[in-house]
Homo-oligomer: 676 residues x 2
């Protein structure tokens, strides 16, 4: 279908589709072979399945992350080339220095020396690889210290720096391109929306017509609020410079302004006074301190209990009784939650993520206390309680930023995790095909890793390394995680090298290289996100209002405007609902909110550089024919461009721009200014 839709030429130019096609052909061939041979065989093509998954509509973020990894690969390869060169040099040197020593198993052959130094790159075998040589001559330490200083401390950091710079550049460039692209789109749209009679401004009807295509779900009211928010000159007609902000304004969600009165304001007096006192208590600053104190005492009690239990030497049993202190703490938390809910109102209480967390943990604790009297499986809930102490860190601005940054990053962290899982899946399938038929128990006799796989009744401490195998997807995943953490990864590698063949090392070495690249990008991504955030904070320092302004807009509608917004017959009850407010205040106030995203921060961060980028966009625009020219001298010609879709043209043409003009008294003044 895709081939049919795109045509053969375009299809072949679309890399992703070609990759999918090739994978599909390979899989078909394999399926045919399986059917013909009627035998199970080495099936690695299953590892390619994630390609189809990644191509889905919902994994755009994952594709973006993969693209960034691929873009970071060339500079990483350059650094890797240097690394391998140094590795070879040191292997040669190490072979001549240490192989005469028969007691040294790490440099017995050239290949063995290479593997030892490759593992040493990850520090996984560090003092061990040095010890036999060190026992012979103390000066051999210099060889290993030099190697580690060059490869680990210098080149690895250089690699991180390279990835970090490439990553920051890609981020900035992406933002710049998007910005220029949006600016151009605005110019195109603007020239389609202006009429012959008003070639430099667009009226509300045309604007709403655009929104019908761009955001079909936008209500009449929201469209008007957006229009008014955009129209800072209050002329009733949007100029091009005002229209440029349309992408910004589309991110806002609108609702009626809620005065900060408490929810119980309408209650009869004795009850209201009571709630009012609760509210004051809850908002009192010492109230929170008291709760924190209780949590700290709870945590300390838990800690002391655990240490006493631990030092008593008795084995921990699961049939712990419900003690009175446990009940006391849970009651305090429950009372706190009830007070806060009644004092602040449910909507306000659950607005804060921390309160939601508190509420869930409290409910679980109560359930746990009840369950504990019958069964003890719910006991672990008490552990969750001290996690609330993390709230203490909110007091420091740095940690507030960390939490906020985390929230902003969530979608991208998810993408990173999906990429890691896909990489794991790919290697797990190959690992299962290659290694799942081997039993590692008591393997590798007479190798350096023999002791790790030993399993009999004589050994005191079993190392259980035979559990790190590739029996199924879950266990293979855990094994690959151990390889990712890198420590002692060579024991798993050596084990399989001894059981299968020397060449199986390639699998483990390759996995290390791939994960190094992926993890470098992940680390660079976290570094970049936090350094960006901290630099942003320095930019807006002491300018908190401007920061707040980015995510909140307030618009007031007069009675006439309300009637215009709710003009259809169905809206009459809504209008009646606001009649009281209109009577007393003359206006209805709406507020627009949007979430603080990275793009918003970037807009503020690069505000010095943005005009330069946009100038570029405008200049390019001037060169290509048929685009609106931003310079007023030639602006008259813009109106002559016709809209290509007939249905759209009709919608826009039939709206009388004069209607809106009567509504807004400023309009006549503004058009006069434009004419002069």
């Amino acid at each position: 279908m895709q081939l049919r839709w795109l045509g053969f030429r375009t299809f072949l130019q679309h890399k992703r589709s070609v990759v999918k096609l090739v994978t599909w052909v390979v899989m078909i061939i394999e399926a045919v072979v399986v059917i013909v041979r009627n035998l199970t065989h080495f099936r690695v093509t299953r590892a390619l399945r994630p390609i189809f998954l990644v191509d889905s509509r919902y994994l755009g973020g994952v594709r973006r992350f993969l693209r960034q990894i691929l873009q970071s690969v060339p500079p990483i390869l350059e650094v890797l080339a240097v690394l391998f060169f140094i590795l070879i040099i040191f292997t040669t040197l190490g072979f001549y220095l240490f192989s005469p020593n028969q007691q040294n198993p790490y440099f017995s052959t050239f290949e063995q020396g290479f593997v030892s130094l490759y593992v040493l790159l990850t520090t996984a075998n560090f003092p061990d690889v040095m010890m036999p040589a060190y026992a012979v001559s103390r000066w051999s330490a210099a060889f290993f210290i030099t190697f580690l200083a060059i490869s680990l401390y210098f080149i690895m950091n250089l690699m991180l720096a390279v990835v970090f710079v490439v990553f920051s550049d890609i981020e900035k460039d992406k933002f710049r391109k998007l910005l220029v692209h949006k600016r151009k789109a605005c110019q195109f749209a603007f020239c389609l929306l202006v009429t012959r009679s008003q070639p430099t401004h667009i009226p509300f009807r045309h604007f709403e017509g655009l929104l019908k295509f761009f955001r079909p779900n936008t209500s009449h009211r929201d469209a008007y609020l957006m229009f008014k928010a955009l129209n800072r000159s209050e002329s009733g007609l949007l100029s091009l410079s005002e229209f440029y902000n349309i992408y910004e304004i589309c991110g806002f969600r609108w609702k009626t302004y809620q005065p900060p009165d408490p929810w119980f304001n309408e209650f009869p007096n004795p009850l209201r006074g009571c709630f009012y006192l609760i509210r004051r208590l809850v908002l009192w600053k010492w109230f929170d301190f008291f709760i924190y104190a209780v949590i700290i005492v709870n945590a300390l009690a838990l800690l002391v209990n655990t240490i006493i239990l631990s030092s008593s030497g008795k084995p921990v049993t699961y049939d712990l009784h419900v003690t009175w202190d446990q009940i006391f703490f849970v009651v305090v938390y429950a009372v706190e939650a009830i007070l806060k809910m009644s004092g602040l109102g449910l909507s306000c209480y659950f607005h804060s993520g921390w309160n939601v967390y508190d509420f869930i943990v409290t409910i679980l604790s109560v359930a746990g206390i009840i369950a504990e009297t019958f069964a003890s499986s719910f006991f672990y809930v008490v552990i969750l309680r001290p996690l609330r102490l993390l709230r203490l860190f909110r007091m420091r601005k740095r940690y507030r930023d960390v939490f906020q940054t985390l929230v902003i990053l969530t979608p991208r962290i998810m993408s990173a995790i999906v990429v890691i899982i896909i990489t794991y899946y790919f290697f797990a399938i190959i690992g299962m095909e290659l290694f799942s038929k081997y039993d590692m128990k008591n393997c590798c006799v007479n190798t350096t890793v023999e002791q790790f796989y030993k399993y009999d009744n004589t050994t005191v401490y079993v190392d259980y390394y035979f559990l790190n195998n590739f029996d199924n997807l879950f266990i293979a995943g855990v094994t690959l995680f151990e390889l990712t953490v890198v420590n002692n990864w060579f024991i798993i590698m050596e084990g399989y090298a001894a059981v299968t063949s020397e060449w199986s090392r390639l699998y483990f070495m390759l996995f290390y290289l791939v994960m190094m690249v992926v993890m470098s990008v992940v680390v660079a991504f976290i570094l970049e996100a936090f350094t960006f955030r901290m630099e942003y904070n320095q930019t807006v320092q002491g300018d908190k209002d401007r920061d707040e302004e980015n995510v909140r807009i307030s618009i007031e509608l007069t009675k006439e405007e309300m009637q215009f917004v709710y003009s259809s017959a169905a809206d009459i009850p809504v209008l009646q609902q606001y009649a009281n407010t209109l009577e007393t205040q003359g206006v209805v106030r709406y507020e627009g909110f949007r979430r603080r995203t990275r793009v918003i921060l970037q807009r503020r961060m690069y505000r010095d550089e943005i005009p330069g980028w946009l100038l570029e966009a405008d200049t390019q625009c001037q060169d290509s024919p048929g685009l609106p020219n931003p310079h007023p001298a030639t602006r008259g010609s813009v109106g002559s461009i016709r809209i290509s879709t007939p249905a759209r043209e009709e919608t826009l043409q039939q709206t009388p721009p004069s209607y809106f003009g009567t509504l807004n008294p400023n309009n006549s003044t503004d058009s006069e200014i434009n004419e002069t």
Copy 2:
């Protein structure tokens, strides 16, 4: 003496002196105690000796590095607080989850669990600590993966990001402060140098008088060249804005311009033609490629020889014969060096660091070949040869930058190394006092680390961990390096915990924390340096001339100026030497060079922000009375400020500003411009 010189008040305000005083008092007390008791005892104050070393005049860079580490400590401590909190939570949870399993030695008590998870933070015990729990339930892997994901991949990176941002800010702020400070110093100096008759400009004689104090070694000629380089308006008098560049210009070293003619230009013709051919051959681009090809073949031959030797299974012996291929390669390298030296001239050849390296390695190789025929100890020189292949990486711009950045960073890398050595010394002394009396051979029976310390004839592979001790400063240093690399560090810690007491763990844990802070700063420093360099390259992209301009200035002197510069009787032979050049070209050309330092790059990098910073300096200047006002309207009053030192005033007053005026024909024109 310092106390006498500074006075008691100032002395106490100077932190470094107070620290030294306290250390000194402690040492004196200890010395008295030792003399009185007449017994050796626990002497940790020796660990404090580096304090006196660091306070020396030559270790300013080390003090700066230490200051940066101390400045990074507060944010690091905050992150560490979160880390320890999470550690305690997971320890409690781990204790309840895993202590019922008697087979699990890692969580048997609360303390044991804490130590296990602390070590897990460094990944040093990774799969091992999980295996007993993993053998019981596969789901326990979730506990460890969660812990590592949070602590290792998230919080550790956050820490690096925090240190990195703090570090970058400190760097930028230091540069800004220095710049503003220098600007103010320039303003002060300028107002001391102007005279009543010329209140807005300073003549050469006054400028030279300043240099006599600022750089007493500056020659008359260099002073004049600097003056002429500063005086861009060529008016013969320096304005304030021209004078601002004095710090820049003082960094230049001056010498007569050497025309790019080869050194053999004066030779008689048949010889000259011969050298000219050699020069063309050496500068021919394929010549270098040929040499690279030889090096690659040499490296491959070495590699193949090594692999053949390795796979032959024969033990490597040191009595290798001199083979013909070795002689061939060494002869090729020697011929190359001789050709290059004769073609380019010695000064030009040794100008490049790579050529110096080539030369030394070639000399060593020749010596090695000769020595090998008698003894084989010089054989390792051949290994150095392939390192020349690193030159291949010069072809990529990225690596050229890496090398250049390394050169710029050298003094600061030295400071970092000194700081690390001092930290090692401190901990090594304490470690020697605490642990040197224990013999670790066959220690720790019935602990998890028993096998690592075992040493008898029955074991096949000895682990030699008993060599990682604190017997002397050198061995203690190697042991501490192993603790720095972190892998398997817990084996050393557990060994001493078993031999001495549980509390000795504090020493190892503290060392890890200190090294983590130091290494974070070192890593942040390397990251910062390279990202700065890469961003700088993007700033000057395609602007190579401007970059070059920063480090090279060309000044021409006429005959009159030469006579002025070499006016004393002793200089007559020098003047005669240039007579020929003056005759033919009319001028003598001088060139100024300076090394590319970080400050120069910073000036270019922050060129958008510098005017803002300097504006601040100028504004502050205006407020304080008695300073030159940069605004021309009130500039007339500047001349009234008198110089306080009488001797200096005399020197400056007796120079007739008119003398210089006659020398430079532009002066009259310029003063006219100034008057209008």
